[in-house]
């Protein structure tokens, strides 16, 4: 079938099952936007290319399918570098198409030219500069394969204008459907080594104080069910990192919640005191380990990861298994059953009672607002959590509000938590929530945002309003860059430098309405419930609820950067309790 490169690109995307993409046209990508009109793919017109990237990520987080974004060359390509890096850090499957100046003009400093593949080399799993129209079908097929297999990640495809422009003879080509992949250097290994799995099972059966340390790999591998089986078979407690909130239900008796810098006391301390950590798709991130040399000092380590470069990167494992988290966990369950199942597990009653003791003495807590105080963010989040359906998808920005959301929400279903973990990208929440809503229109989607974050990407609420994505935004307005303020309070002698954002400018209610949303403002505790109920009722446009919150509230517990997890700082009200 004869066609041009632009038509081939659309056909290739359709063949990969793409039904929605996020983007913004411009000069170099213009020819592709013409065949888009004839395509079955829905295109969501964003207001800034960063928004397109985060929407694609949000879509992928909520659905497990690769998100797709398409933007033009030069400034559009550089605008999408942040989402690419974000997706790379958090292993989010994403394919980004960028326009490029005509092939013959590359390297001439042409208008809107930049070295897109060079710039994005270190923030993509792989990238392509396509030089011939005839290569488009195979490159797109390979790009989706690479983005979604092994350790998922973003793949960028840079397409010069001439090979997609029907007025240029270089765009003429004959369509051929790709037959498989010819990637001799890319062979992701999913099955774990059977002997190593046996060794891991043996360590589990010997452990007196084991903890399942579970990361984003559980969700990426669709391994939540396998994890549940493993935990219930062995009776071992589970910590869920920031990237695996929802990968194990928070309401399960074995769930200890989030570990790390702002993890709860029990999750942090159970890992510190454990004699075995079973790390499943987790990468010993510095925000989890604290001071590495003093992290879980008594623990043997079983480390399962699809990415061999993670094994031993931070902590040398006793058993290192390269493989898909779900496949290996299922295999581990099978082997443990053969070894006697629950019967083969030692008596861990003493360990269990230590854990429940920590849970009783050090629950998450905060001081409620006094008469003259503004709202407490934790109070708002507890109410929001209780007033929304159990399967609500929650996206967050980055900072204090992110940590409070992870702490106070009850994530009982996989793929309900969408956030920027590794890169910590402020402004992630709104576009990511839009992407999540695009992928799961049946679900209620709330973005929990801070006032600093909101001001970075609020323009995408126009996209939400005009494209019909009725997301809801809980804006935790404490008038500060709150996490930075907290660090300046705790570690810089209360010398506050460039963290105050002002309380009344902008007027968020008016701004929300100008963007095509319903805007609500809440200032007192008794208004919280009704405002949330009102927001939940609105389904024909996005809603922004501004919660005016106390500026001085800090996130606890906290392990100060560089300190041992044993030195976790708890809420002021708990500091005299015996550990």
């Amino acid at each position: 079938m004869n066609m041009n490169g632009g038509q081939a690109l659309m056909k290739a995307l359709e063949n990969e099952g793409v039904d929605i993409m996020f983007g913004l046209p411009g000069g170099a990508i213009l020819p592709v936007y013409d065949p888009l009109l004839d395509s079955s793919i829905r295109h969501v017109l964003v207001r800034h290319e960063q928004g397109a990237g985060h929407m694609a990520e949000g879509f992928a987080h909520a659905t497990g399918r690769p998100g797709v974004a398409m933007v033009t060359s030069g400034p559009a390509a550089t605008n999408i570098v942040t989402p690419l890096c974000d997706a790379y850090m958090d292993s989010v499957p994403m394919v980004v198409i960028t326009g490029q100046v005509p092939y013959a003009a590359i390297g001439t400093d042409a208008f809107q030219e930049c070295d897109t593949t060079g710039i994005t080399m270190s923030v993509t799993k792989h990238n392509y500069l396509v030089t011939e129209a005839a290569d488009i079908p195979q490159v797109i097929h390979d790009a989706f394969h690479i983005a979604t297999t092994g350790r998922p990640g973003p793949v960028l495809v840079d397409i010069p204008k001439d090979i997609v422009d029907p007025n240029n003879p270089r765009s003429a080509m004959e369509w051929h459907t790709p037959d498989g992949h010819d990637l001799p250097g890319y062979r992701p290994n999913t099955a774990g080594d059977a002997e190593l799995i046996r060794q891991a099972a043996k360590l589990i059966c010997e452990a007196e104080r084991p903890v399942l340390y579970t990361g984003g790999g559980i969700l990426k591998s669709r391994g939540a069910k396998a994890l549940l089986e493993l935990a219930e078979l062995t009776g071992i407690h589970v910590v869920t990192t920031l990237m695996n909130r929802g990968g194990f239900p928070d309401d399960h008796p074995l769930c200890l919640g989030m570990p790390g810098m702002h993890g709860n006391y029990t999750a942090v301390t159970a890992m510190q005191e454990a004699d075995l950590l079973v790390a499943l798709g987790a990468r010993f991130d510095d925000r989890v380990t604290g001071k590495v040399a003093e992290f879980a000092p008594l623990a043997k380590i079983i480390h399962v990861d699809i990415d061999g470069a993670e094994l031993g990167k931070v902590r040398q494992p006793d058993v290192a298994i390269q493989g898909d988290c779900r496949v290996v966990t299922e295999e581990l369950v099978k082997v443990l059953r053969e070894m006697g199942g629950g019967e083969a597990q030692p008596d861990r009653n003493q360990w269990r009672s230590r854990i429940s003791g920590w849970q009783e003495r050090f629950p998450l807590t905060y001081a409620h607002s006094q008469e003259d105080e503004l709202l407490k963010p934790q109070f708002v989040l507890e109410h929001l959590r209780d007033a929304t359906p159990d399967d609500t998808i929650v996206a967050s920005g980055v900072g204090q509000h992110q940590m409070w959301t992870s702490q106070y929400w009850k994530f009982n279903h996989p793929y309900t938590w969408v956030n920027s973990g590794g890169l910590g990208t402020m402004g992630f929440a709104i576009p990511a929530a839009i992407g999540a809503k695009a992928g799961r229109p049946d679900r209620m989607v709330w973005a929990v945002d801070g006032d600093g974050c909101f001001q970075m990407t609020a323009q995408e609420l126009v996209t939400a309003a005009t494209e019909g994505f009725p997301i809801k935004v809980a804006l935790i307005n404490n008038s500060y860059l709150g996490m930075v303020r907290q660090w300046q309070e705790m570690f810089y002698g209360e010398r506050y430098s460039e963290v105050y954002l002002t309380r009344d400018v902008p007027d968020y209610k008016l701004w929300a309405e100008a963007l095509g949303c319903t805007g609500l403002r809440v200032e007192s505790p008794e208004e919280v419930g009704p405002a949330i109920a009102q927001a939940n009722e609105i389904d024909d446009r996005p809603v922004v609820v501004e919660f005016r919150c106390e500026a001085g509230e800090n996130v606890f517990p906290m392990v100060p950067a560089g300190m041992s997890n044993s030195d976790v700082v708890v809420d002021p009200s708990q500091r005299d309790r015996p550990r």
Partner: protein, 187 residues
């Protein structure tokens, strides 16, 4: 990059670790545009200097073989090698142990050689079994192929005469061959 000498004294170090704090990697990659930049970028990102680099297509032309000498000798290399292996275009990686491989390097050098010292230089050329490539009235161009340490020695001996221009290829290497006969052939 600089053509710094890479000593090759056989020792019992970890495979691929040379004396003088360098590591030799042999990397097979797809012979495609941009692959070298991907490989080099992984070293550059960590501030690791590539001491020498030799690249050429293998017999089929579909792959290229890179011999990379990196100025790093300790544990950080392990992480680089693992990440190198993750590059989609990298097919395989070997850390080459100097004591278990045959290493060669080519040097071309132009020297000041007015007629009064030309004879001395030609003596050195004879001793090292080097080759005279070109002769001018005041200069001479010679080449030597040998182990990197032998090339180092030759360069050091020529330096007093005045090196005008020098280009070394960087080390290339192949693993040494098995010396023992298979058991089926044993007497």
């Amino acid at each position: 990059m600089s053509p710094a000498p890479t000593g090759s004294a056989p020792t019992d170090q970890a495979p691929g670790r040379n004396s003088g704090g360098t590591t030799t990697l042999v990397v097979h990659v797809e012979n495609k545009a941009g692959v070298l930049a991907r490989v080099a970028g992984l070293f550059a990102r960590r501030g690791f200097n590539i001491e020498s680099l030799a690249v050429a297509p293998t017999a089929s032309g579909r792959f290229s073989r890179l011999t990379i000498v990196v100025g790093v000798d300790a544990a950080p290399m392990e992480q680089v090698v693992k990440q190198l292996d993750k590059l989609v275009n990298v097919v395989d990686i070997q850390e080459l142990n100097p004591s278990a491989s045959v290493e060669r390097e080519l040097m071309m050098v132009t020297l000041r050689a007015d007629p009064s010292v030309r004879g001395q230089i030609l003596d050195l050329v004879r001793v090292f079994q080097a080759t005279v490539l070109n002769v001018g009235y005041e200069e001479i161009m010679v080449s030597l192929t040998g182990s990197p340490s032998r090339v180092d020695d030759f360069e050091a001996l020529l330096r007093p005469y005045g090196i005008v221009d020098v280009q070394r290829t960087g080390k290339v290497a192949l693993a040494k061959l098995v010396k023992t006969a298979p058991e089926s052939l044993a007497p």
